[in-house]
Protein backbone atom coordinates (compact mmCIF):
# COMPACT_ATOMS: atom_id res chain seq x y z
CA UNK A 1 0.00 0.00 0.00
CA UNK A 2 2.84 2.33 0.96
CA UNK A 3 4.77 1.44 -2.21
CA UNK A 4 1.69 2.20 -4.24
CA UNK A 5 1.36 5.71 -2.82
CA UNK A 6 5.06 6.37 -3.45
CA UNK A 7 4.59 5.38 -7.05
CA UNK A 8 1.51 7.55 -7.29
CA UNK A 9 3.53 10.49 -5.97
CA UNK A 10 6.33 9.79 -8.46
CA UNK A 11 3.76 9.56 -11.22
CA UNK A 12 2.32 12.92 -10.24
CA UNK A 13 5.80 14.49 -10.00
CA UNK A 14 6.77 13.14 -13.42
CA UNK A 15 3.52 14.43 -14.80
CA UNK A 16 4.19 17.93 -13.43
CA UNK A 17 7.83 17.94 -14.53
CA UNK A 18 7.24 16.83 -18.10
CA UNK A 19 3.72 18.16 -18.64
CA UNK A 20 4.66 21.80 -19.01
CA UNK A 21 7.66 21.15 -21.24
CA UNK A 22 5.90 18.95 -23.77
CA UNK A 23 2.32 20.11 -23.99
CA UNK A 24 0.52 18.26 -26.74
CA UNK A 25 -2.55 19.49 -28.59
CA UNK A 26 -4.14 16.12 -27.99
CA UNK A 27 -4.72 15.50 -24.26
CA UNK A 28 -5.42 11.79 -24.79
CA UNK A 29 -2.09 11.35 -26.61
CA UNK A 30 -0.37 13.37 -23.90
CA UNK A 31 -1.85 11.13 -21.21
CA UNK A 32 -0.63 8.03 -23.06
CA UNK A 33 2.85 9.54 -23.53
CA UNK A 34 3.16 10.20 -19.80
CA UNK A 35 1.90 6.71 -18.99
CA UNK A 36 4.57 5.24 -21.27
CA UNK A 37 7.38 6.44 -18.98
CA UNK A 38 8.84 3.20 -17.53
CA UNK A 39 10.03 4.91 -14.36
CA UNK A 40 6.44 5.84 -13.61
CA UNK A 41 5.03 2.36 -14.28
CA UNK A 42 3.90 0.68 -11.05
CA UNK A 43 3.94 -2.62 -12.96
CA UNK A 44 7.61 -2.97 -11.97
CA UNK A 45 6.58 -3.32 -8.32
CA UNK A 46 4.77 -6.49 -9.40
CA UNK A 47 7.88 -7.69 -11.23
CA UNK A 48 9.89 -7.35 -8.02
CA UNK A 49 7.30 -9.08 -5.87
CA UNK A 50 7.01 -11.84 -8.47
CA UNK A 51 10.75 -12.43 -8.36
CA UNK A 52 10.63 -12.92 -4.59
CA UNK A 53 7.64 -15.28 -4.91
CA UNK A 54 9.39 -17.31 -7.62
CA UNK A 55 12.35 -18.13 -5.36
CA UNK A 56 10.47 -18.49 -2.08
CA UNK A 57 9.70 -21.97 -0.71
CA UNK A 58 5.91 -22.02 -0.39
CA UNK A 59 2.84 -24.23 -0.32
CA UNK A 60 2.14 -27.63 1.29
CA UNK A 61 5.25 -29.05 -0.40
CA UNK A 62 7.43 -26.15 0.81
CA UNK A 63 9.00 -25.78 -2.65
CA UNK A 64 9.97 -22.83 -4.80
CA UNK A 65 9.06 -22.45 -8.47
CA UNK A 66 12.71 -22.63 -9.52
CA UNK A 67 12.19 -26.06 -11.15
CA UNK A 68 9.08 -24.91 -13.04
CA UNK A 69 9.48 -25.61 -16.78
CA UNK A 70 7.85 -22.87 -18.84
CA UNK A 71 8.79 -24.57 -22.10
CA UNK A 72 12.51 -23.88 -22.40
CA UNK A 73 13.60 -26.15 -19.54
CA UNK A 74 13.25 -26.07 -15.72
CA UNK A 75 13.88 -22.58 -14.38
CA UNK A 76 14.63 -21.01 -17.77
CA UNK A 77 12.79 -17.69 -17.80
CA UNK A 78 14.56 -15.62 -20.45
CA UNK A 79 12.41 -15.71 -23.59
CA UNK A 80 9.91 -18.23 -22.19
CA UNK A 81 6.91 -15.88 -22.39
CA UNK A 82 7.72 -14.98 -26.01
CA UNK A 83 7.18 -18.69 -26.91
CA UNK A 84 3.84 -19.17 -25.13
CA UNK A 85 1.23 -20.62 -25.46
CA UNK A 86 2.70 -24.03 -26.34
CA UNK A 87 2.04 -27.74 -25.88
CA UNK A 88 3.38 -29.38 -22.68
CA UNK A 89 3.72 -33.15 -22.80
CA UNK A 90 3.58 -33.58 -19.00
CA UNK A 91 0.13 -31.98 -18.88
CA UNK A 92 -0.82 -33.18 -22.39
CA UNK A 93 -2.37 -29.84 -23.28
CA UNK A 94 -1.59 -26.40 -24.69
CA UNK A 95 -0.92 -23.87 -21.95
CA UNK A 96 -0.48 -20.13 -21.75
CA UNK A 97 1.79 -18.61 -19.11
CA UNK A 98 -0.90 -18.48 -16.45
CA UNK A 99 -2.16 -22.02 -17.00
CA UNK A 100 1.45 -23.23 -16.83
CA UNK A 101 2.23 -21.27 -13.66
CA UNK A 102 -0.93 -22.71 -12.11
CA UNK A 103 0.23 -26.21 -13.11
CA UNK A 104 3.61 -25.62 -11.44
CA UNK A 105 2.00 -24.19 -8.29
CA UNK A 106 -0.23 -27.29 -8.05
CA UNK A 107 2.38 -29.91 -8.96
CA UNK A 108 5.57 -28.48 -7.47
CA UNK A 109 4.21 -26.55 -4.51
CA UNK A 110 1.03 -28.49 -3.76
CA UNK A 111 -1.35 -25.53 -3.92
CA UNK A 112 -5.06 -26.16 -4.53
CA UNK A 113 -6.11 -25.37 -8.11
CA UNK A 114 -9.59 -24.08 -7.22
CA UNK A 115 -8.05 -21.62 -4.74
CA UNK A 116 -5.53 -20.35 -7.31
CA UNK A 117 -8.37 -19.79 -9.79
CA UNK A 118 -10.41 -17.92 -7.21
CA UNK A 119 -7.56 -15.58 -6.23
CA UNK A 120 -5.78 -15.09 -9.59
CA UNK A 121 -7.43 -11.69 -10.20
CA UNK A 122 -6.81 -9.30 -7.32
CA UNK A 123 -9.73 -7.40 -5.85
CA UNK A 124 -9.41 -3.71 -5.04
CA UNK A 125 -6.96 -3.22 -2.19
CA UNK A 126 -5.80 -6.85 -2.31
CA UNK A 127 -2.87 -8.65 -3.90
CA UNK A 128 -2.64 -11.61 -6.26
CA UNK A 129 0.44 -13.83 -6.34
CA UNK A 130 -0.43 -14.81 -9.91
CA UNK A 131 -0.40 -11.20 -11.15
CA UNK A 132 3.06 -10.71 -9.60
CA UNK A 133 4.46 -13.98 -10.99
CA UNK A 134 3.13 -13.21 -14.49
CA UNK A 135 4.74 -9.75 -14.37
CA UNK A 136 8.08 -11.25 -13.31
CA UNK A 137 8.17 -14.00 -15.94
CA UNK A 138 6.83 -11.86 -18.79
CA UNK A 139 9.33 -9.07 -18.12
CA UNK A 140 12.12 -11.60 -18.79
CA UNK A 141 10.94 -11.61 -22.42
CA UNK A 142 10.69 -7.83 -22.77
CA UNK A 143 12.45 -6.70 -25.94
CA UNK A 144 12.02 -10.14 -27.56
CA UNK A 145 9.55 -10.99 -30.31
CA UNK A 146 6.66 -13.45 -30.15
CA UNK A 147 7.34 -16.69 -32.00
CA UNK A 148 4.61 -19.30 -31.92
CA UNK A 149 5.61 -22.13 -34.29
CA UNK A 150 2.42 -24.23 -33.85
CA UNK A 151 4.32 -27.45 -34.50
CA UNK A 152 2.32 -29.80 -32.29
CA UNK A 153 -1.13 -30.87 -33.60
CA UNK A 154 -2.73 -29.65 -30.34
CA UNK A 155 -1.18 -26.21 -30.87
CA UNK A 156 -2.71 -26.10 -34.34
CA UNK A 157 -6.03 -27.22 -32.90
CA UNK A 158 -5.87 -24.49 -30.23
CA UNK A 159 -5.28 -21.85 -32.91
CA UNK A 160 -8.18 -23.11 -35.05
CA UNK A 161 -10.48 -23.33 -32.02
CA UNK A 162 -9.53 -19.81 -30.97
CA UNK A 163 -10.46 -18.48 -34.38
CA UNK A 164 -13.78 -20.36 -34.39
CA UNK A 165 -14.67 -18.88 -31.00
CA UNK A 166 -13.58 -15.37 -32.08
CA UNK A 167 -16.47 -15.33 -34.58
CA UNK A 168 -19.08 -17.02 -32.34
CA UNK A 169 -22.08 -14.84 -31.48
CA UNK A 170 -24.10 -15.29 -28.27
CA UNK A 171 -25.81 -13.83 -25.19
CA UNK A 172 -28.07 -10.77 -24.87
CA UNK A 173 -26.22 -8.55 -27.34
CA UNK A 174 -25.36 -11.19 -30.00
CA UNK A 175 -21.73 -10.14 -29.65
CA UNK A 176 -18.71 -12.10 -30.77
CA UNK A 177 -15.12 -10.97 -30.22
CA UNK A 178 -15.17 -10.01 -33.90
CA UNK A 179 -18.02 -7.52 -33.35
CA UNK A 180 -15.53 -5.05 -31.89
CA UNK A 181 -12.18 -6.49 -33.02
CA UNK A 182 -12.36 -7.25 -36.76
CA UNK A 183 -12.64 -3.75 -38.20
CA UNK A 184 -9.97 -1.11 -38.78
CA UNK A 185 -9.81 2.18 -36.90
CA UNK A 186 -13.05 1.93 -34.90
CA UNK A 187 -13.79 3.12 -31.39
CA UNK A 188 -16.13 2.17 -28.55
CA UNK A 189 -16.88 5.53 -26.95
CA UNK A 190 -13.38 7.09 -27.07
CA UNK A 191 -11.54 3.78 -26.67
CA UNK A 192 -9.74 2.66 -29.84
CA UNK A 193 -10.42 -0.94 -30.86
CA UNK A 194 -7.73 -3.14 -32.39
CA UNK A 195 -8.48 -5.32 -35.41
CA UNK A 196 -7.15 -8.62 -34.09
CA UNK A 197 -7.20 -10.23 -37.54
CA UNK A 198 -4.31 -7.90 -38.50
CA UNK A 199 -0.77 -8.52 -37.37
CA UNK A 200 0.04 -4.92 -36.45
CA UNK A 201 -3.05 -4.46 -34.26
CA UNK A 202 -2.74 -7.89 -32.64
CA UNK A 203 0.94 -7.19 -31.97
CA UNK A 204 0.23 -3.78 -30.45
CA UNK A 205 -2.21 -5.42 -28.04
CA UNK A 206 -0.42 -8.63 -27.17
CA UNK A 207 3.06 -7.11 -26.68
CA UNK A 208 1.74 -4.72 -24.01
CA UNK A 209 0.26 -7.36 -21.67
CA UNK A 210 0.61 -8.01 -18.76
CA UNK A 211 -0.11 -4.38 -18.10
CA UNK A 212 -0.61 -2.05 -15.17
CA UNK A 213 -4.25 -0.86 -15.36
CA UNK A 214 -4.43 2.59 -13.79
CA UNK A 215 -8.23 2.35 -13.40
CA UNK A 216 -7.92 -1.05 -11.67
CA UNK A 217 -4.95 0.03 -9.50
CA UNK A 218 -3.26 -3.28 -10.25
CA UNK A 219 -1.41 -5.27 -12.87
CA UNK A 220 -3.70 -7.28 -15.14
CA UNK A 221 -2.94 -10.38 -17.19
CA UNK A 222 -4.14 -11.71 -20.56
CA UNK A 223 -6.46 -14.19 -18.81
CA UNK A 224 -8.05 -11.20 -17.09
CA UNK A 225 -8.38 -9.41 -20.42
CA UNK A 226 -10.27 -12.44 -21.83
CA UNK A 227 -12.52 -12.65 -18.77
CA UNK A 228 -13.17 -8.88 -18.97
CA UNK A 229 -14.14 -8.99 -22.67
CA UNK A 230 -16.66 -11.78 -22.01
CA UNK A 231 -17.99 -9.83 -19.02
CA UNK A 232 -18.62 -6.86 -21.30
CA UNK A 233 -20.24 -9.24 -23.79
CA UNK A 234 -22.71 -10.19 -21.02
CA UNK A 235 -21.37 -13.73 -20.81
CA UNK A 236 -20.90 -15.76 -17.59
CA UNK A 237 -17.48 -15.84 -15.90
CA UNK A 238 -14.82 -17.38 -18.13
CA UNK A 239 -13.12 -20.28 -16.35
CA UNK A 240 -9.53 -19.31 -15.54
CA UNK A 241 -7.07 -21.37 -17.57
CA UNK A 242 -9.83 -23.15 -19.52
CA UNK A 243 -9.15 -24.64 -22.94
CA UNK A 244 -11.36 -21.88 -24.37
CA UNK A 245 -9.26 -19.10 -22.82
CA UNK A 246 -5.99 -20.67 -23.95
CA UNK A 247 -7.35 -21.21 -27.49
CA UNK A 248 -8.23 -17.52 -27.83
CA UNK A 249 -4.85 -16.46 -26.43
CA UNK A 250 -3.10 -18.87 -28.84
CA UNK A 251 -4.96 -17.40 -31.82
CA UNK A 252 -4.24 -13.83 -30.72
CA UNK A 253 -0.57 -14.47 -29.96
CA UNK A 254 0.02 -16.25 -33.27
CA UNK A 255 -1.57 -13.29 -35.06
CA UNK A 256 0.78 -11.02 -33.09
CA UNK A 257 3.85 -13.05 -34.10
CA UNK A 258 6.84 -10.82 -34.81
CA UNK A 259 5.66 -8.15 -32.38
CA UNK A 260 8.26 -7.01 -29.86
CA UNK A 261 7.30 -7.34 -26.20
CA UNK A 262 7.41 -4.25 -24.00
CA UNK A 263 6.16 -5.44 -20.63
CA UNK A 264 4.85 -4.71 -18.12
CA UNK A 265 2.73 -2.29 -20.12
CA UNK A 266 0.64 0.50 -18.66
CA UNK A 267 -2.88 1.42 -19.70
CA UNK A 268 -5.76 3.55 -18.46
Amino acid sequence: MRARSIVAACLAATWLATGAAAQSDNPVEEYRRLLADPFANPGYLFVDRGEALWHQKRGPKNASLEQCDLGLGPGVLEGAYARLPRYFADADRVMDLETRLMWCMVNLQGFDEATIKKTAFSKRGGQSDMEALVAYVAEKSSGMTFEIPLEHPKEKEAYALGEAVFYRRSSYFDFSCSTCHSLDGRRIRLQELGNMTRQEDAARAMTSWPTYRVSHETLRTMQHRMWDCFWQMRMPDLDYGSELSVALITWLTKNAEGGELAVPGIKR
Binding site: E163, V165, Q199, E200, M235
Partner: protein
Protein backbone atom coordinates in the same frame (compact mmCIF):
# COMPACT_ATOMS: atom_id res chain seq x y z
CA UNK B 1 6.13 8.37 -55.46
CA UNK B 2 5.98 5.02 -57.15
CA UNK B 3 8.03 3.59 -54.30
CA UNK B 4 5.62 4.99 -51.72
CA UNK B 5 2.63 3.52 -53.55
CA UNK B 6 4.33 0.17 -53.88
CA UNK B 7 5.31 0.18 -50.21
CA UNK B 8 1.79 1.09 -49.13
CA UNK B 9 0.35 -1.61 -51.36
CA UNK B 10 2.70 -4.30 -50.12
CA UNK B 11 2.02 -3.25 -46.51
CA UNK B 12 -1.70 -3.69 -47.13
CA UNK B 13 -1.19 -7.07 -48.76
CA UNK B 14 1.27 -8.38 -46.22
CA UNK B 15 -0.49 -7.42 -43.02
CA UNK B 16 -3.48 -9.74 -42.50
CA UNK B 17 -2.69 -13.09 -40.97
CA UNK B 18 -4.69 -15.66 -42.85
CA UNK B 19 -5.41 -19.01 -41.30
CA UNK B 20 -4.79 -20.59 -44.69
CA UNK B 21 -1.11 -19.61 -44.40
CA UNK B 22 -0.64 -21.98 -41.49
CA UNK B 23 -0.23 -25.51 -42.85
CA UNK B 24 -2.13 -28.41 -41.36
CA UNK B 25 -4.79 -26.50 -39.44
CA UNK B 26 -7.64 -28.83 -38.45
CA UNK B 27 -11.28 -28.02 -39.12
CA UNK B 28 -13.13 -27.37 -35.88
CA UNK B 29 -16.60 -28.90 -35.95
CA UNK B 30 -19.51 -27.00 -34.44
CA UNK B 31 -19.86 -29.75 -31.80
CA UNK B 32 -16.18 -29.42 -30.83
CA UNK B 33 -16.45 -25.63 -30.59
CA UNK B 34 -19.65 -25.74 -28.56
CA UNK B 35 -18.15 -28.29 -26.17
CA UNK B 36 -15.14 -26.03 -25.59
CA UNK B 37 -17.45 -23.06 -25.01
CA UNK B 38 -19.62 -24.95 -22.49
CA UNK B 39 -16.52 -26.18 -20.64
CA UNK B 40 -14.98 -22.71 -20.74
CA UNK B 41 -17.92 -21.24 -18.84
CA UNK B 42 -18.53 -24.29 -16.59
CA UNK B 43 -21.95 -24.70 -18.17
CA UNK B 44 -23.08 -27.57 -15.93
CA UNK B 45 -22.73 -25.43 -12.82
CA UNK B 46 -24.65 -22.43 -14.18
CA UNK B 47 -28.19 -21.26 -13.35
CA UNK B 48 -30.70 -21.63 -16.24
CA UNK B 49 -30.63 -17.87 -17.01
CA UNK B 50 -26.85 -18.04 -17.50
CA UNK B 51 -27.01 -21.28 -19.48
CA UNK B 52 -29.30 -19.47 -21.92
CA UNK B 53 -26.61 -16.83 -22.51
CA UNK B 54 -24.28 -19.52 -23.78
CA UNK B 55 -26.69 -21.43 -26.00
CA UNK B 56 -27.08 -19.94 -29.47
CA UNK B 57 -30.51 -19.20 -30.91
CA UNK B 58 -31.16 -19.72 -34.66
CA UNK B 59 -30.08 -16.20 -35.63
CA UNK B 60 -26.83 -16.40 -33.68
CA UNK B 61 -26.12 -19.86 -35.04
CA UNK B 62 -26.68 -18.88 -38.68
CA UNK B 63 -24.79 -15.59 -38.40
CA UNK B 64 -21.86 -17.42 -36.79
CA UNK B 65 -21.93 -20.11 -39.47
CA UNK B 66 -21.80 -17.56 -42.31
CA UNK B 67 -19.62 -15.06 -40.40
CA UNK B 68 -22.36 -12.46 -40.81
CA UNK B 69 -22.56 -12.81 -44.59
CA UNK B 70 -25.39 -15.30 -45.15
CA UNK B 71 -26.35 -16.30 -48.70
CA UNK B 72 -29.41 -14.38 -50.02
CA UNK B 73 -31.98 -17.10 -49.23
CA UNK B 74 -30.74 -17.47 -45.64
CA UNK B 75 -30.64 -13.68 -45.21
CA UNK B 76 -34.23 -13.42 -46.48
CA UNK B 77 -35.33 -16.12 -44.02
CA UNK B 78 -33.65 -14.35 -41.07
CA UNK B 79 -35.13 -10.98 -42.05
CA UNK B 80 -38.64 -12.39 -42.49
CA UNK B 81 -38.63 -14.21 -39.15
CA UNK B 82 -37.31 -11.09 -37.40
CA UNK B 83 -39.95 -8.79 -38.92
CA UNK B 84 -42.82 -11.15 -38.13
CA UNK B 85 -41.90 -11.32 -34.44
CA UNK B 86 -41.77 -7.57 -33.82
CA UNK B 87 -44.20 -6.31 -31.19
CA UNK B 88 -45.42 -2.79 -31.86
CA UNK B 89 -46.75 -0.38 -29.20
CA UNK B 90 -50.45 -1.13 -28.56
CA UNK B 91 -51.46 2.53 -28.72
CA UNK B 92 -49.56 3.11 -31.98
CA UNK B 93 -47.46 5.88 -30.42
CA UNK B 94 -43.74 5.63 -31.17
CA UNK B 95 -42.31 8.66 -29.40
CA UNK B 96 -41.66 8.90 -25.66
CA UNK B 97 -39.59 11.38 -23.63
CA UNK B 98 -36.35 12.43 -25.33
CA UNK B 99 -34.68 13.24 -22.01
CA UNK B 100 -35.21 9.66 -20.84
CA UNK B 101 -34.00 8.51 -24.25
CA UNK B 102 -30.82 10.54 -23.85
CA UNK B 103 -30.18 8.98 -20.43
CA UNK B 104 -30.71 5.49 -21.90
CA UNK B 105 -28.34 6.29 -24.77
CA UNK B 106 -25.59 7.28 -22.33
CA UNK B 107 -26.21 4.38 -19.94
CA UNK B 108 -24.12 1.23 -20.43
CA UNK B 109 -25.18 -0.48 -17.21
CA UNK B 110 -26.81 -3.87 -16.93
CA UNK B 111 -26.79 -7.61 -17.65
CA UNK B 112 -23.10 -8.05 -16.80
CA UNK B 113 -22.07 -10.54 -14.11
CA UNK B 114 -22.48 -8.74 -10.78
CA UNK B 115 -24.80 -6.01 -12.12
CA UNK B 116 -27.85 -5.29 -9.97
CA UNK B 117 -30.87 -6.77 -11.84
CA UNK B 118 -33.16 -4.17 -10.24
CA UNK B 119 -31.36 -1.24 -11.86
CA UNK B 120 -32.34 0.19 -15.26
CA UNK B 121 -30.54 -1.50 -18.16
CA UNK B 122 -29.09 1.06 -20.56
CA UNK B 123 -29.25 1.16 -24.35
CA UNK B 124 -25.60 2.33 -24.50
CA UNK B 125 -26.17 3.83 -27.98
CA UNK B 126 -23.18 6.17 -27.56
CA UNK B 127 -20.84 3.16 -27.33
CA UNK B 128 -21.21 2.85 -31.12
CA UNK B 129 -23.04 5.93 -32.47
CA UNK B 130 -22.56 9.68 -32.59
CA UNK B 131 -25.86 11.30 -31.54
CA UNK B 132 -26.11 14.81 -30.03
CA UNK B 133 -23.30 16.99 -31.39
CA UNK B 134 -22.53 18.17 -27.85
CA UNK B 135 -21.55 14.66 -26.66
CA UNK B 136 -17.98 14.03 -27.80
CA UNK B 137 -17.52 10.62 -26.21
CA UNK B 138 -19.10 8.44 -28.87
CA UNK B 139 -18.02 5.26 -30.65
CA UNK B 140 -17.71 4.59 -34.36
CA UNK B 141 -18.79 0.95 -34.74
CA UNK B 142 -22.16 2.20 -36.02
CA UNK B 143 -23.03 5.14 -38.30
CA UNK B 144 -23.42 8.69 -36.99
CA UNK B 145 -27.00 9.53 -35.97
CA UNK B 146 -26.38 13.28 -35.62
CA UNK B 147 -29.43 15.21 -36.81
CA UNK B 148 -31.23 11.93 -37.49
CA UNK B 149 -34.87 13.08 -37.26
CA UNK B 150 -34.30 16.45 -38.85
CA UNK B 151 -32.52 14.94 -41.86
CA UNK B 152 -35.63 12.78 -42.42
CA UNK B 153 -38.13 15.62 -41.92
CA UNK B 154 -39.38 13.81 -38.79
CA UNK B 155 -41.36 11.51 -41.12
CA UNK B 156 -43.68 8.92 -39.54
CA UNK B 157 -42.37 6.19 -41.88
CA UNK B 158 -38.79 6.84 -40.76
CA UNK B 159 -39.84 6.65 -37.10
CA UNK B 160 -41.49 3.25 -37.60
CA UNK B 161 -38.42 2.06 -39.54
CA UNK B 162 -36.14 2.93 -36.61
CA UNK B 163 -38.52 1.29 -34.13
CA UNK B 164 -38.10 -1.92 -36.12
CA UNK B 165 -34.34 -1.39 -36.35
CA UNK B 166 -33.95 -1.02 -32.59
CA UNK B 167 -36.41 -3.82 -31.77
CA UNK B 168 -34.63 -6.27 -34.09
CA UNK B 169 -32.03 -4.98 -36.55
CA UNK B 170 -32.06 -8.34 -38.34
CA UNK B 171 -35.46 -7.35 -39.73
CA UNK B 172 -33.62 -4.66 -41.72
CA UNK B 173 -30.26 -6.36 -42.42
CA UNK B 174 -29.67 -10.03 -41.56
CA UNK B 175 -26.74 -10.56 -39.18
CA UNK B 176 -26.49 -6.90 -38.25
CA UNK B 177 -23.82 -6.03 -35.67
CA UNK B 178 -26.39 -4.20 -33.56
CA UNK B 179 -28.09 -5.92 -30.59
CA UNK B 180 -31.76 -6.93 -30.81
CA UNK B 181 -32.94 -4.62 -28.06
CA UNK B 182 -36.64 -5.60 -28.23
CA UNK B 183 -36.42 -9.28 -29.14
CA UNK B 184 -33.86 -10.00 -26.41
CA UNK B 185 -35.79 -7.81 -23.91
CA UNK B 186 -32.76 -5.61 -23.26
CA UNK B 187 -35.03 -2.55 -23.48
CA UNK B 188 -38.81 -2.39 -22.92
CA UNK B 189 -41.19 -0.97 -25.53
CA UNK B 190 -41.37 2.23 -23.44
CA UNK B 191 -37.55 2.44 -23.34
CA UNK B 192 -37.41 2.10 -27.13
CA UNK B 193 -39.97 4.90 -27.46
CA UNK B 194 -37.77 7.16 -25.30
CA UNK B 195 -34.75 6.45 -27.51
CA UNK B 196 -36.88 7.13 -30.60
CA UNK B 197 -37.87 10.49 -29.11
CA UNK B 198 -34.18 11.28 -28.57
CA UNK B 199 -33.68 10.66 -32.31
CA UNK B 200 -36.89 12.26 -33.61
CA UNK B 201 -38.11 14.96 -31.20
CA UNK B 202 -37.39 18.36 -32.81
CA UNK B 203 -36.31 19.63 -29.36
CA UNK B 204 -33.87 16.79 -28.80
CA UNK B 205 -30.18 17.81 -28.86
CA UNK B 206 -29.72 15.20 -31.63
CA UNK B 207 -31.64 17.55 -33.94
CA UNK B 208 -30.22 20.86 -32.72
CA UNK B 209 -27.15 22.61 -34.04
CA UNK B 210 -24.06 22.52 -31.84
Amino acid sequence: MRFVTAAALSACLAVPVLAAEIPGLPTISVERREQAVRDGFRYDKLAPELKARIEQDDTQRLCTEYRNEPPPEVAARIEKAALEAIVFPEDGKFLGDWKKGEALSLNGYGLRMGDDPKRQVGGNCYACHEMAPTELSYGTLGPSLKGYGKLRDFAQDAIKEVYIKIYNPNATVACSTMPRFGTKKILSIDDIRHVLAFLFDPNSPVNREE
